[in-house]
Symmetry: C2
C-alpha cells in the first residue's frame, strides 16, 4: 500500500460537486472570531456572502458592515422580530454557547439554515432541543467544526479509512492556549453558565470531534481528570485530561488547557504505521503532516489553508447541493454527550459510558 | 530565561565526579538485550568490565566469552554456589523479571552490588523482598532505567526543574513496538507469571519512570484501559493507555503497545513552554529534542548516545564514588506500585491511588 498518493492534490475539496451558487448569511454575534476569521473567510470564499449583521452593539456592527460591504445591521430584538429576514438564507451563530439555541431556533422558525458554533449549547438538553427544532423545520443545521474541512484532517481520515496505518490503536491529541493572554478575567469562557464548562468544552472538543471523525465511531467509555491553578479558573476547569475508549479497544488520550503554552498536536498510532499532525487545531497556521508505514516516511508542509473559509463554503455547498452535512446536529450532540460524561468522570473518578 | 544554554555540552555527564576505577561484572542471563546491547556497552564504557557470564546455555556463553574476552563462564547452579565469586564485584541481572529476585538476592548475600533490569520482579511483593535483602546487605541496588542516563532526558529534567517551561501541566508519552516481528509466540513476554504483565509493565514503565523522574514526584492517582486483539495476547495486555495524576494536578497521558508501529515520543507542556523528545525510549536511535518557551524555539538533533553504556558507567560510578544512585530499589518499587494500581484501574474502571 502506497502512502504518497494521499499527498497529491493535498488541499483538494473532495466534497465539492457544484461550481456555482451563493448562500446569503446573517452573522449573529460579532466577537473576535467572527470579526477576525469568519467575516474575511465569508468574503473570500466561493459560496457565501454576508448580507446581514446581527449584534447588540450597533456602532461596532456599522463599522464592520462598512468594512465588509454588508447591506443591513439588525439588533437582537430585530432579529427575533424577523427583520430583514428576506435578505438572508442562513445564519451563522457565533454568540457564546448559552445563547446559541435562541438564535438557531428562531432562524429555523424563519426557515433559515443554521451554521452554529460549537458546542451547540451550554448544556446537552438545550442542544437536543435545538437539534429537534431544526429537524422539525427541515433546515440544514451544521455544527461549526472547522477542523472537518481542514485538508490535513481530511487526508489523514482517508488514510485511516483505507488502512494506510493498519488498525488504529492509540491516539494522542492535545490543544492548549493561554486564555488570559488575550482575554480578561471577565471573559464569558470563565462563566460555566454561559460557556457550559472550561477547557474541556471549549478546546477539548477539538481532539474529541477529530477522533470521532477519524475513527467514524463513538466512544463507549470516557475517563477524565480536571484541574485548575486557582482564580480566575475557579468556576471552570483550567486543565483537563480525558481518555476515550472506542469499540475494539482503540483509545484516545486527550488534553486541553486554558493555561499552558499554545500548541496543538495529533498523533494516530496504528498496527502498521502512524500519522502525526502538528497544529491540527491551531487556526490559521501551517500544518505539518507526517505519515509513516513500516519504513516509509512521508511528510507534508504546505501553505496554510484557511479552514474557516473551507468551513463556510462546505456549509453553503451542503445547502446549495442538498448534500449530506457530516458535521450535523447529531454530530454536535454526540460530542456534548461525551463531554457531559467526561465531567461526571472527572467528578467521580469513574469510567463513564456516554 | 534563556533556553539555549541547556543545549551546550548536551551529552555531558553531569553525574561524574571521578575519572578512574573499574567494577568487575557478572552478567546473568544472556538474552538478546544482554548480548546485543549490554556486553558491547560494558566493553566500550569507562568503568566496567565483564569478568563472568552466568547462563543456562554453556555453549552460547562460551562463544560470547570468547567474543568479549570474558574470563569465566558459570551456570546458574554454580552462581548460587558462589563459584567465581572472587572474580566480580557486582552483577547485572538480565533474566526475565520473575527470576530477578533469586539472582539479585543471592548476589547481595555474596556482598555484590546489583544492577537489576526493570521491573525489579514480576510482582510487587517479590520486588519489596529483593529491595529489603539488598538494603540489609548494604550493597548498591540500581534499577536499570537506561533512560535515566540518556542526555536528552537529563537535559529536559534540568529544564523542567529550572522552570524553563514554567510549571508542567500535561505530559504525553508513548512507546510502541511490534513484539511478534522479533519474538515468537512462546516469548516470556507473553507469560504473565514470568513477565508480570504485558505492554504496561514491559514498555509502559518507560514513560511512567521518565515522568516521575522529570516531575520528581509520585502520582496520587492512576486510571488505565487495557486491550488485546486476541491470541497470542490472551494472557497479557497487548495495548494499554494509562493516565497519572500528580500532586497539583499535573497529568501524564501514557500509552504502550506490543502490537503497533514502533515509535516512542514524549511531550511535556508547561505554563510557559514545552519540550518534545522524539524516540526517548527507542534504544540506540538518535534523539531529537525541541524546547519552546514563548516565541523561542530551539531544537537539537545530535548523534545517538549509547544510553546503555551510560547506564553501566553510571552504576559503576555509584559503586566506585559511593554516590547516591537515583534509580535505586525504592525507585523501582515506586513504579511497581503504580503498575499494580494501573492493572487494578484497568480491571475496575476506577481511579486508583497507588
Amino acid at each position: 500500500m502506497r502512502v504518497s498518493p494521499y499527498f497529491e492534490a493535498f488541499t483538494r475539496r473532495d466534497w465539492q460537486t457544484i461550481e456555482e451558487g451563493t448562500v446569503r448569511l446573517a452573522v449573529i454575534g460579532l466577537g473576535a472570531f467572527a470579526r477576525n476569521r469568519a467575516l474575511p473567510a465569508i468574503r473570500d470564499g466561493d459560496f457565501c456572502e454576508t448580507t446581514v449583521l446581527v449584534s447588540g452593539s450597533p456602532e461596532k456592527a456599522s463599522d464592520l458592515a462598512a468594512e465588509f460591504g454588508v447591506e443591513r445591521v439588525v439588533d437582537y430584538e430585530g432579529f427575533h422580530a424577523g427583520e430583514a429576514a428576506g435578505k438572508y438564507d442562513a445564519v451563522y451563530v457565533a454568540t457564546p454557547p448559552a445563547y446559541h439555541p435562541e438564535y438557531a431556533e428562531r432562524a429555523a422558525e424563519l426557515d433559515k439554515h443554521v451554521l452554529c458554533e460549537k458546542p451547540l449549547a451550554a448544556d446537552l438538553a438545550s442542544a437536543e432541543h435545538m437539534v429537534e427544532t431544526c429537524t422539525d423545520a427541515g433546515v440544514v443545521l451544521m455544527t461549526a467544526y472547522r477542523l472537518r474541512t481542514e485538508p490535513a484532517i481530511r487526508r489523514i481520515r482517508e488514510m485511516v479509512r483505507e488502512g494506510v496505518i493498519g488498525d488504529p490503536v492509540q491516539i494522542h491529541g492535545g490543544f492548549s492556549t493561554r486564555l488570559l493572554d488575550h482575554a480578561g478575567s471577565d471573559s464569558w469562557r470563565l462563566d460555566p453558565d454561559v460557556a457550559g464548562g472550561g477547557a474541556l468544552i471549549d478546546l477539548g472538543i477539538y481532539p474529541l470531534n477529530t477522533t470521532r471523525f477519524l475513527l467514524d465511531a463513538d466512544p463507549i467509555a470516557v475517563s477524565a481528570e480536571a484541574a485548575s491553578s486557582g482564580p480566575p479558573f475557579d468556576r471552570v476547569e483550567e486543565h483537563v485530561a480525558f481518555r476515550l475508549t472506542f469499540p475494539g479497544g482503540t483509545t484516545a488520550s486527550c488534553t486541553a488547557s486554558f493555561g499552558a503554552h499554545p500548541d496543538s498536536r495529533l498523533r494516530v498510532i496504528g498496527t502498521e504505521g502512524q500519522l502525526l499532525v502538528r497544529s491540527p487545531f491551531g487556526g490559521d497556521v501551517s500544518q505539518e503532516l507526517v505519515a509513516e508505514r513500516g519504513e516509509v516516511h512521508v511528510s507534508y508542509a504546505g501553505p496554510a489553508v484557511d479552514e474557516v473559509l473551507e468551513e463556510f463554503d462546505y456549509f453553503a455547498h451542503c445547502v446549495l447541493a442538498d448534500a449530506d452535512c457530516e458535521a450535523d446536529g447529531e454530530d454536535g450532540l454526540a460530542d456534548q454527550r461525551v463531554i457531559e460524561a467526561a465531567y461526571e468522570a472527572a467528578e467521580t473518578g469513574d469510567r463513564i459510558s456516554p
